[in-house]
Symmetry: C2
Subunit: 199 residues, 2 copies
């Protein structure tokens, strides 16, 4: 991998592990065994780096959405989406939405715009998946597909914070129930369960 791409990859890791204000050109340079000025050569300002990190993630999500089209089952598509977050929970990272949202006011207007487009892409993809899934009976939920997409995205994003604070097992509880909530099963319905299950 080129130095350019290694900076982007490490920058993404650092941004989602420690936050945009918690790493410096020195940290990047030191880890990649180059001088800080080499990082400035590829990304003149820290904001230029942030912008590239966000756009790289956006491209990665486009690649994901193309890849997942090979899978016909909509429930499995959803689970593939959840798996992206599960991998981050394992490594202790949060998602870019969570990281960029927390550091939002440290970013330039351009970078905030890129974050906005990135999140809109995710919400649009999830909205379409849910809409299509409800029409064919693969998913069951109340309200607008877009609102449900926002609910699921916020669940997954903050689950990564929960995994850090309370432990990785919490991610499994949250994401497991989240999938159950919208995937209709044969045995149980919303109403019947209100008394049989305990605390």
């Amino acid at each position: 991998m080129s130095t350019h791409d290694e900076i982007l990859s490490l920058g993404d890791d650092l941004m989602r592990m420690h936050g945009f204000n918690a790493f410096s050109y020195y940290h990047l340079a030191d880890a990649l065994k180059v001088r800080p000025a080499a990082v400035h050569y590829h990304f003149p300002t820290k904001d230029a780096l942030a912008l590239s990190i966000v756009n790289r993630s956006r491209e990665a999500f486009h690649a994901f959405s193309e890849r997942v089209l090979l899978e016909a089952d909509l429930q499995i598509r959803l689970k593939s989406f959840v798996r992206i977050f599960a991998e981050n929970a394992d490594t202790g990272k949060i998602c870019l939405m969570g990281a960029a949202g927390a550091d939002f006011y440290s970013l330039s207007e351009d970078t905030r715009g890129a974050v906005r487009l990135f999140v809109l892409d995710i919400i649009a993809w999830l909205t379409d998946l849910l809409d299509e899934g409800r029409q064919c009976g693969d998913f069951t939920f109340d309200g607008l597909p877009r609102t449900r997409a926002l609910l699921i995205a916020t669940n997954l994003a903050a689950s990564l914070h929960m995994a850090r604070i309370l432990g990785k097992k919490e991610f499994q509880s949250i994401s497991g129930q989240l999938v159950k909530d919208i995937c209709p099963s044969k045995k149980s319905t919303k109403r019947s369960s209100s008394k049989v299950r305990g605390k």
Copy 2:
């Protein structure tokens, strides 16, 4: 208010607006019209300040949970909880769970422990509310009350990120649907809505 308390209040604002690594002793001192050393007098290290900020929020939540006991209606208690987040959405701040979760690895073990206790308090309170509410028919949901509490807490936490990235209106959509999801209404059920409502 004393300088000590003003530092705590402003520190809390800055931590939740810009992040733990995005403000300095100078920022605090400058805003409060004192010298940076005065801030060190009250909070010798930045970590001591972070710890106090977290414990202050925990105490504030205890006060909230006592206050809300005056309200008998469990649905209204839930809405009071949601209102705390709505106020943050308005001012552009995120919640301490979201902020401390993002900056988790910049905090000391002691402070992380305090964050854990703070989040556990919230989850315990919400779990009890949901459990009691399901038993008396005020709330309807699948799964364990604690899991549902985690789902609601993560929804609200990341909704504040969404409010920053996509706009404040998104918070209303998310929190509105979240409340609808568990508050049984007379007219609509989970199943009947799957075709009448559009995208």
